[in-house]
Symmetry: C2
Subunit: 438 residues, 2 copies
């Protein structure tokens, strides 16, 4: 496309932010006072609170309560402009981004495109596995889980039935652990009432971790306790185990073992999503952009990267910062201040990450928390987890709805959102029919 | 398909209910004590509260809060079975329904399939207009409205812009009136903050009614006041006006006038959805099934129809009952009792409709209510409308969420769910591009 996207030229330096995740939002907010035009480009019209996607997938929350429209977040910020579009590439010499709505020029470009599911080059797994990285992924997974049970009622064949009600989750990080726990709770408290005709002793949930322990980024205590909690809930945890292949029905492991499932949930890793058009030398392993201590992409003066897509390689962080919300938010905020400094001709300040710790929830009253030297597991950790997530969600309405849903589930042992909605279902069913042997 | 759907034979008379709308749900509930096997078949896994679909379409409510899983409604009812499937036809001699999951035999068959949008045979309108009869319709309409505004920002051409921000609603019944009012409120209170770059004086909302007054089924006072309220909100109401054609861009009326819009919302009528395989003589105009005073389909002993798809033609109801929730619920309940009588060899009782009145809401503090001789319009009517709808929604969790959203909107003048979610968008955009002249 060669046309220019219609957007007012207000005669001020133009800062384009690509991506409205945690990093992009914080950056745009901290540019509130900047004497500049701030343009956020995102393919969605809303920010999504990714840490709770797994609850959407497991019928605990409605999708609408963890997403929030960008225009609403910034309704009072005069220098803010939003365009819903996909950025296709960047022309760094002409200082232009090519998007699905046309070209847009920039003075400063910030890449905050985040991360996507990493299948490590295995196309077969990519084709058949279920990711859980976007709102659409989560709704599709919810629809698939519920449709599977409806279909399981219709077969007399034990293997066919197990393929529908068994789940294999690959990846022992927070997402894998949280989704395994949530599925186990559905198995214990919700599905047996819904599907009285099925025998839930036959339902197996497997969690596959390539390394020797779960929750790699957390303390030894947290790892062990998470394993305990999952086993208490009946989840089969496989450590030191790697998936070799998956054809939509049979999972084969590197050690030769096999499992049957129609639903392999892939939470085994993420990689960055840089924009085409940047120097190849700046793109590191895992598709992240190497940035300096000011989040400037190596080789450019006016192009920055923040959040999951940025890798700030220093002696303290030889792999860059962890690909999680807190570093993204802190980088967004810091870069906002630095861009203001640039605009005003002041010196920049190096980014310093303040690690607040991390946490994961396994189920009702079961969570693990590592906070700055303070470690706890169990019910207190669970309340800490809920509190931290609740206050982090954007928008008071959303916080209220989420809180209400959590209280509801807690006291009723129920999940309210067991709904198959949308038109992805048909495609999945069609795809699965092909994958079905016989 | 010739295979038999897997479903336990419990050695009791089998009652199949096709469709879990208001009628089907009430029927299944009132069969709780029946010594029979009650099988509900629906293509969705949830009941939808149709009277509030328009609020989903206009970003006032999340879809999840007005739908409720069937399995949850009936979790304590032992004789209840659910199958998610589409019924393709019925073989009345073999007493079998053919479904997408196989054949199922019945002793009693109840058709509660409801109604679908009626385009009165105009295929061009059917192809381009937007219906609002299902949850999927409502979400697609919400996505379309919001995407239209995002696209309107990108054009300099006045006609193109107006085609995106103008709306034509066809049908002056409750749905048309309610959606026109809700759009007008978005125009007044919500969109101007979201889209500061657009001039909302240019946004026009047209409501088209073929007859001389709005809300035909209600009192003269209600009709006049609804017209007043809409005009106060800036809606252009066209009475005695009929659409002749619509190509996705230009609406042509029978009187020769024209309007430009990319969004023609069709709320001009519904027709029944009977199951193929029944005697043609039983299918009346508007595709409804003629039933006797016991809701038995004419010509059959063990086949019944209830709700919108049933037309009980009597001297008092020469057109059958109105196609609304109250007659559907009452027929469902009454038929439940009658089937119990049949099973126990007792005489049947003729159906009698108790008309509680009707109501419609136009906007904040603006509703019209006709209740059994009592008529009111304005703020009291608005509270009555909210109260009646709130207590009618299935599920305490849903009631709480809806109440919270309404209170939130009321005090903040805001609609929380301005989200473009799902994958229908792309298709629409693609379709519209074709319809776009030049």
């Amino acid at each position: 496309m060669t046309q220019t996207a219609r957007i007012a030229d207000i005669g001020k330096p133009r800062i384009i932010i690509v991506g409205g995740g945690f990093a992009g939002i914080e950056l745009a907010k901290s540019l509130r006072q900047a004497d500049a035009q701030v343009i956020l480009i995102d393919k969605q019209n809303h920010h999504a609170f990714q840490p709770l996607l797994y609850q959407v997938a497991t019928a605990g929350l409605e999708a609408d309560s963890i997403v929030y429209p960008f225009r609403k977040i910034f309704e009072d910020q005069k220098n803010f402009y939003f365009r819903m579009a996909e950025v296709e590439s960047v022309d760094t010499t002409r200082q232009i981004v090519h998007t699905t709505i046309g070209e847009i020029t920039y003075d400063y470009l910030v890449i905050a495109t985040g991360a996507t599911t990493n299948y490590y080059g295995n196309e077969q797994i990519q084709e058949h596995a279920v990711p859980i990285k976007t709102i659409e992924d989560s709704i599709a997974l919810r629809n698939k889980i519920l449709s599977n049970f409806e279909r399981a009622l219709l077969t007399d064949d034990d293997e066919q039935m197990n393929s529908l009600i068994d789940y294999v989750i690959v990846g022992g990080g927070p997402t894998g652990v949280e989704i395994a726990g949530a599925l186990a709770e559905l198995k214990l408290h919700v599905f047996p009432q819904d599907y009285r005709e099925l025998d839930f002793l036959k339902m197996d949930i497997h969690l596959i971790q390539s390394g020797p322990r779960l929750l790699n980024g957390m303390s030894e205590e947290a790892s062990l306790k998470a394993l305990d909690f999952l086993q208490e809930l009946g989840v089969h945890v496989w450590l030191n185990c790697r998936v070799k292949s998956y054809d939509g029905y049979t999972v084969e492991f590197e050690n030769g073992e096999k499992l049957i499932t129609r639903t392999l949930i892939w939470a085994a890793g993420v990689c960055g999503m840089p924009i085409p058009g940047l120097r190849e030398e700046s793109v590191l392993k895992g598709n992240r952009l190497q940035v300096d201590i000011y989040n400037r992409v190596l080789g450019y003066k006016n192009i920055f990267a923040i959040g999951d897509v940025a890798a700030m390689i220093t002696r303290a962080t030889p792999q860059g910062h962890p690909m999680m919300a807190p570093p993204a938010m802190q980088q967004g905020k810091a870069l906002g201040k630095n861009i203001c400094c640039l605009l005003e001709g002041k010196p920049l300040k190096a980014f310093r990450y303040y690690d607040k710790g991390s946490m994961a929830t396994i189920g009702r009253n079961k969570a693990v928390v590592d906070l700055n030297g303070y470690k706890t597991q169990g019910i207190i950790a669970w309340f800490v987890w809920m509190f931290v997530h609740l206050i982090s969600i954007v928008g008071y309405r959303n916080r209220l709805v989420v809180l209400m849903n959590w209280m509801w589930s807690y006291f009723s042992y129920d999940k309210g959102i067991r709904l198959i909605i949308g038109n992805k279902k048909e495609k999945q069913v069609a795809r699965e029919k092909e994958a079905m042997p016989t």
